[in-house]
């Protein structure tokens, strides 16, 4: 099934996509994710010491490409900032959710709204984040970025988006949410199979 038509950019059928400028970066991000997130893309402007988790500045179109190309049963995309108190309060729940479901292929895309990527990286390192994350590319204005991610999103932080295996947006939360709320929606889209029954991990409540 071609995923293009189900891409969130086309969710409402009203947005345009600047594919060419984003192709290389999106491809680099995809390759990076496919490699198990061990190495940052070849972007010297974003080079970081090995102790900090890699971070890439992406536009909305590039982020949408990365979601589509993740080939994951579910992608949780969270908009946050180090200065956003409710974002910081909900982050442990998102990290725990990711930890519990990453073996099933679920990916967590953290997108920082910080002005300085180092701030985000240092904060994420302190939370033992070991996977690549993203930062809003400030060459794109805030309204364009917001519209490019999801037309129904007001622009409030935090905001979390759940995409299914086809890259289709299936749920959006504005404001702080709980582990249980995120997990409930996640379990709805993880397809059950004999080898992989969809149940919360041991010790977690459904």
């Amino acid at each position: 099934m071609p995923t293009h038509n189900l891409h969130p950019l086309n969710f409402n059928g009203i947005r345009s996509m600047k594919t060419l400028p984003s192709t290389l970066t999106a491809a680099a991000v995809t390759a990076w994710l496919a490699l198990g997130c061990g190495q940052a893309p070849d972007d010297s402007s974003q080079a970081t010491p090995p102790s900090l988790p890699p971070i890439s500045a992406l536009t909305a179109a590039q982020l949408n490409d990365a979601v589509r190309d993740a080939k994951s049963p579910a992608v949780i995309l969270n908009m946050w900032a180090t200065w956003c108190v409710p974002c910081i309060e909900e982050l442990p729940d998102l990290l725990r959710l990711h930890e519990n479901y990453r073996a099933r292929g679920v990916k967590l895309f953290l997108v920082s709204w910080d002005a300085d990527p180092k701030l985000a990286q240092k904060f994420l390192a302190s939370k033992k984040v070991d996977f690549p994350s993203f930062i809003k590319d400030n060459s794109e204005t805030d309204p364009k970025f917001i519209e490019g991610i999801e037309d129904k999103w007001s622009g409030a932080l935090p905001a979390t988006f759940l995409f299914d295996a086809d890259g289709k947006l299936v749920h959006m939360w504005e404001g702080k949410e709980t582990y249980e709320a995120f997990e409930k929606k996640l379990l709805e889209i993880l397809k059950p199979s004999a080898q992989n029954p969809v149940q919360p991990p041991k010790g977690e409540t459904p």
Partner: protein, 200 residues
């Protein structure tokens, strides 16, 4: 059965995506205009009471939000200017200050003085005004014309971090057009900001 299930699914999906939609449409009148809200000067204000001859601007804002802080000097300058030109302005803090400690009335008064707000900065003590507007973030601007019809809902401009880098001055353009009696070209924009911490 299949059809009804898919209809139900579609309805639920639609509900999920409309929860955060702005309730006020262009042309709507402001709700809760008679709710008394305490200002940082100790006086009670209502939206009806601040109505201006040229129109009324209702701002949902707060103290703590970094987006507000980044935009606040611009908000003060623009609103002070247009208040003198006949636009009634009220800035409402609907946050529960038990959850957001920097949003107490005392700190609001301090902020108002520091920024030189010449318009009322008031407490929405039950968050009912924000709920009625279906406001979701701070800062969020609702501009009504002289007939109390909504003509603009959105953000101040397109760059909260850097005033000199802003290329689209949404609110200023809307205010200027309103005063000139010209058509407002951008009626609705995204509103980057912090979620309102509603009182339970």
């Amino acid at each position: 059965m299949k059809k009804s299930a898919s209809v139900l699914f579609a309805a639920l999906a639609l509900a999920a995506f409309t929860l955060n939609a702005a309730a006020l449409e262009l042309g709507d009148k402001p709700p809760k205009t008679d709710v008394k809200m305490k200002g940082t000067d100790g006086k009670d204000y209502t939206i009806a009471g601040v109505k201006g001859a040229k129109g009324t601007l209702v701002i949902f804002s707060c103290n703590h939000c970094p987006f507000v802080v980044a935009w606040e000097e611009r908000i003060a300058a623009l609103c002070n200017e247009f208040m003198k030109k006949g636009v009634g302005i009220i800035q409402i803090n609907s946050n529960d200050y038990n959850r957001s400690k920097s949003d107490t009335p005392e700190l609001m008064a301090q902020r108002s003085k520091e920024r030189g707000f010449e318009f009322p900065y008031v407490v929405d003590a039950t968050s009912e005004v924000a709920r009625a507007f279906k406001a979701t973030v701070t800062p969020e601007f609702f501009l009504f014309d002289a007939d109390d019809k909504l003509v603009f809902h959105g953000a101040l401009d397109d760059n909260h971090r850097n005033a000199s880098a802003a290329t689209q001055h949404y609110l200023k353009n809307a205010l200027a057009a309103l005063l000139k009696g010209e058509a407002i070209t951008v009626h609705r924009t995204k509103t980057p900001g912090c979620t309102i911490k509603f009182r339970e």
